[in-house]
Each structure stands twice: as structure tokens, then as C-alpha cells.
Symmetry: C2
Subunit: 342 residues, 2 copies
């Protein structure tokens, strides 16, 4: 089955040409790409990549939702419409995250029964990758939203990331079920009773890094704050180590000798390897790359999106939500255990 | 002025003897210590340290508030009572944090006009220490609570940590005033209008690490999650660097050469240097050490507590809250600008 991915070429710091190069890499492994961006800046289209001229960008718009509504010709809007109209089966964007989410929500639209989409990010933890969601699609989340996030993350980890029976945890300020805000405590109770979910309880920040779970659920405010702090700590420490390695002749010699051994760590921490953040809860798979990403990162994002389509991530999420009676507006039914074919 | 600090000797992983050794160090610099713990385990009392036999410990109690109520003879309760009865002017404990907070709240009690105490932790960020609060005293916080936290943190940073005009920021998922949960947005508005506070706006996690503020305010749930994540990331990365330095002969040689240069980083990251987390908003200064701390950490905690007394941290906090009309039950008054003497 040939999958077509709609890609927004605007939004990448390195320019549309770099995104096109990433599309070309992905096309080589058999994925078709519809590339929306300024045709004048995208040269040498390759086999499997079709460029659609869309020079208008809302990637830097301060109010993304408004910009997406006001600019139907913007590249991200055209890309989302291509997915909505089934000319492509998945969406990839270099950001902004806000405009990608708005375009996804307005055009691709929420999957049936999903309250809200969530943004899931595979944390680059050496040896124990963890899918954290929501990292910022919604500043607030009710307990029933968080329960859906748990199923969405679990289904995606299984279908696309190759985790067999993902352990799902709830981020809190203590491991005991009674720890957290009233909403977190209520969510814990719902998750503990949710059928078809491998819920392993609350997890603290140290547990996230320690590999206690494969999927960690939280609201978009806490998730976003947590993510940025982790990035900050990571950058600060690696810079400090680097500075130590140039602070003296002795340090310099040590740094040179240590460099090859540290390459593995640098690779493990490379956010480009996972393709970016996944928009879950839409009718189709979506991936948002960091603006910093180069061609390799965009190629990985397109690969992940195509895998999501092939592995029917959206359909499997729906089935899991339905089986658990966790769909919006549908309480658990007598027949919930029999999964409907999609 | 000789300051007396009441110290709970239970709760330290290394035992009451280690806390006593820390008390002895602090006593050498002129602070009197009332040390509550099992006298049988505390030998060789030194000049300036008075041991009060208090063998009962609630440091490991699963429900600290209940344990504090049920055990009036527990060491932390006796220490808090000594402060309440003015036999000592500040409280230091090796934890648990919950029992120290409960004993502080029940016996030392809240300062006049303060909604809730908060736990403030100086984050060991190389080159740019930041006071983060609340890191876990309250899972939830209303906007008027967060505003008080801002004043409490600012006054403490100025009086005790030696920061001249502390820059105060609000932790959020974006720098724009409109980012965050409704409570965070409301808090931003209140802080922007608060007189006598150097509010620098919202800060994201990357900004916390980047030195954008001296004091960062958040609710106890987010603060605690953030803190544990930072600890987790820090430990994971330093372990990975260490592993790289033993993974090969070349790496080993590099690690040995690099070690002296990294000592400065290790020192900067050492949580013992700041004495622990500060309980703010009580009628007296309180410091909670990490259970892992050794004598140096406890000595630093006692020094910080004594400095808080000498520098009148509690009184200055009250004055700042009063001047801003931010005291509980008292809206800004005409005379708010004239600071009452305490």
C-alpha cells in the first residue's frame, strides 16, 4: 500500500529546500509526498514528491488559530485540506505547533468520540524512550480527557513505536493514588478501572527518567512546562560538560578522548530521530517537527506518519477507546468488549 | 544577637549522630541549637548544642499530618513547639517534608495574613541559582495564593539569599501573558499590577535554566513535578557521561583528565550547599533538608535559618505583602504604602 503524506514545507528554520530534501529521502523508501510550499524555492523535485505551490506561510503568526482561519491559501491549511479530502493520508509540518494543531483541528478534524487532540512527544531518554502527552495542545484537561490521552498514547505506542504492551503512567507529585490535584486523583481512579489499559499508577519526574513507564499522561500545561525544563536542564548540563572540556589543557585532552564515547549519548538525545511530536486524536495521523530540524528529521517524521497510516493507528485508537467505553458521549455499553471493525 | 534554632535530629538517612555533627559545625559559627532526637544515639554534645531527648520519630509515617497530631512527643513536634513557645527562633528538619510542614502549620502556625505556606527550593543551576516555589506544600493554588508566593519568595531571596532586587517570574507554557491555565493567566494579571514586586513576566522551563529570573512562582503540583524531572534528567545525564568515561580505555583516560574540570560543576549541582528547601509563610523561618544530607548540609540549613532570623525574613515578607495589599482578608488600603513596624 502506497501512503501519501501531505507536508507543509514552510516553518522549517533551514527553509523549504531542506524540507524538500527530507521529502526526497522519505520518497526513496516508498512514501509519496505532496509538498506544500513556495515552488520557486523548491528545486529539482524528485520521483515521488509532488510540489504544490503554496507560498503563503502562517508559521510565524502570533495567533495561529486566527491566522489559519484567515488564510485558506496558507501552506499548512492546504496540506491539512489535502488530508481532509483524502488526497493524502497523513500530515507533517515543521510548525508552528499552534498553526499545525489549528489546521488539523479545523480541517482534518477530531476522530469520532475524541474530546480533544493531544500532542505526544517521544522523550529522548537514553535506553528508555517515553511517550509524554499532552505536551501542549490543551492548557487544561478534565479527567475524561486525560483518560482518552492514556488510550491514545497507548494505542500509538503499540501501533507505531513498536511497544508490545505499553505501560501507561499518570504524572503526579507522588506515587500514591491519593497524590495530586483533585483532577489527577480522579483520573487515577478512572485509569485504574479502565479495561484494556496497562496502567502502572502514578509516576514522579524521577520515575519518568527511570523507565517506569512507556507512556506518561498529563495535562498540556504541566507537560509543556516539564518538557521545556527537561530541555533546559539537558542543554545546561551538556554545555557545562563541554565548558569543562575546554577550561584547561588537561580538560581539553580529556574532552577529545571522551568525545567518541559521548557520541552514543548525543545520538540518543537527538530529537530528530523520532520525527517530532505526534498529533493524536485527529481523524488522521499528524506529526509536527521542530523548526530546527534538518532533512533527516523531516524524513523521519514522514516515515513515522506513513507507518501510522499503514499500522492503522487512528483505527486502533478508536477501537481501544470504544472497547473501554471511553468515547465521548458514549458510556460503557454491554457490548463494549466486542471491538467493532473499522 | 544569638539565634537559637530548633533542629529535628530524626529523618536523616545517616542517623541522628550526623545531624548532631552538623549542629556542632553550626554552633561553631555562633548559632545555638536545640537538638531534638534520641539522646542515646547522640554522643559528645558540644558547646552551643543542647540535646533534648525525643526518640519518637514520625519521619517515615505514611500520613504525616495524622502522625503529627497523634504523636505530640515526636521530635519534629517538640522542635516546632519550641519555636512556637519562643525557646527557639527557627526550625530545621531532615524530613519528611510532610511531617515538617504539618508540624510547622499546626504549631509554628501561619504568619498573619498568609493563606498558605509554600516550600521554596533554590535550584542548583550552575551560575544562575533560582528560587522555585511552591515545590510541593500545596497541590493546588489560587491566584491570590500564587501572588503571596511571589512576595514570600522575593522577600526571602532579598533578605536571606542576598539578591538585591529579585526578578520574579511566573512559570507557564509560554512567555505571553495569555499563556497558561485560566488561574495562571489571572495570576499574571495580578502580578503585573502588584506594587513593590519586580515581576518580569512568564517564564518557560528553558528560561528557568537560562537565568531569566531569580524567583520562579508556580503551584505545588507543577513545582514538584518540575523539580523531580529536573533531578531525574540531571542524574540520567551525569550517569551517562560517567558511563561514557568507563566504556573504553580511551574514554577512561578522558574521564580521568576531565575530572578536575568537572568538580566545579559537581559543586554547583550539590543540593547540600543551599541547606535544603525553605518553608515560607510561617510565623518563623523553617528549613527542610533532604534526608540524604550529611553534616555539611545540616550545618548549612541551620546557618540559613539563623540568617533568616537575623535578617528578619518573616517581618520583611509581612511588610511587602501589607504594602501591596496582598494580605489575606485585607484589600489594599489607603495607608498600605506606609509599612508598619513589626
Amino acid at each position: 500500500m502506497t501512503v501519501t503524506v501531505a507536508v507543509d514545507a514552510n516553518g522549517a528554520d533551514l527553509g523549504p529546500g531542506e524540507v524538500a530534501a527530507g521529502a526526497a529521502l522519505a520518497a526513496r523508501s516508498g512514501t509519496r509526498v505532496l509538498l506544500f510550499g513556495p515552488a520557486a524555492e523548491i528545486h529539482d523535485p524528485v520521483e515521488g514528491v509532488e510540489v504544490v505551490d503554496a507560498p503563503v506561510s502562517v508559521a510565524k503568526a502570533p495567533e495561529p488559530a486566527r491566522a489559519v482561519r484567515a488564510h485558506p491559501d496558507a501552506s499548512i491549511v492546504q496540506a491539512a485540506r489535502a488530508v481532509a479530502e483524502d488526497r493524502a493520508q497523513a500530515l507533517v509540518s515543521g510548525g508552528s505547533t499552534g498553526s499545525a494543531l489549528a489546521a488539523g483541528l479545523f480541517h482534518v478534524r477530531r476522530a469520532r468520540g475524541v474530546h480533544r487532540p493531544a500532542l505526544a512527544l517521544p522523550l529522548p531518554i537514553p535506553g528508555a524512550p517515553v511517550l509524554l502527552l499532552d505536551v501542549g495542545a490543551n492548557a487544561e484537561a478534565r479527567p475524561d480527557h486525560l483518560v482518552q490521552f492514556a488510550f491514545m498514547g497507548s494505542a500509538f505506542a503499540r501501533a507505531v513505536l513498536g511497544v508490545d504492551a505499553p505501560r501507561v503512567a499518570l504524572l503526579s507529585n507522588g506515587e500514591e493514588p491519593t497524590k495530586g490535584t483533585p483532577d489527577v486523583i480522579a483520573t487515577h481512579e478512572l485509569l485504574a478501572d479502565a479495561p484494556g489499559l496497562r496502567f502502572v499508577g502514578n509516576v514522579e519526574g524521577t520515575g519518568v527518567m527511570g523507565g517506569a513507564a512507556d507512556v506518561v499522561v498529563t495535562d498540556g500545561f504541566t507537560g509543556n512546562v516539564a518538557l521545556k525544563l527537561m530541555e533546559g536542564v539537558s542543554e545546561t548540563l551538556l554545555r557545562a560538560v563541554k565548558e569543562a572540556a575546554v577550561s584547561s589543557a588537561r580538560g581539553k585532552a580529556g574532552g577529545v578522548l571522551l568525545r567518541p564515547s559521548l557520541q552514543g549519548l548525543r545520538d540518543a538525545l537527538d530529537p530528530e530521530s523520532s520525527g517530532g511530536a505526534y498529533m493524536l486524536g485527529l481523524r488522521r495521523v499528524g506529526v509536527v517537527c521542530h523548526g530546527r530540524f534538518g532533512r533527516k528529521g523531516f524524513a523521519n517524521a514522514i516515515d513515522v506518519a506513513a507507518r501510522g497510516v499503514r499500522e492503522q493507528a487512528v483505527e486502533k485508537t478508536y477501537e481501544a477507546l470504544d472497547a473501554a467505553g471511553a468515547l465521548r458521549g458514549s458510556p460503557p455499553s454491554e457490548t463494549a468488549a466486542s471491538v467493532p471493525s473499522s
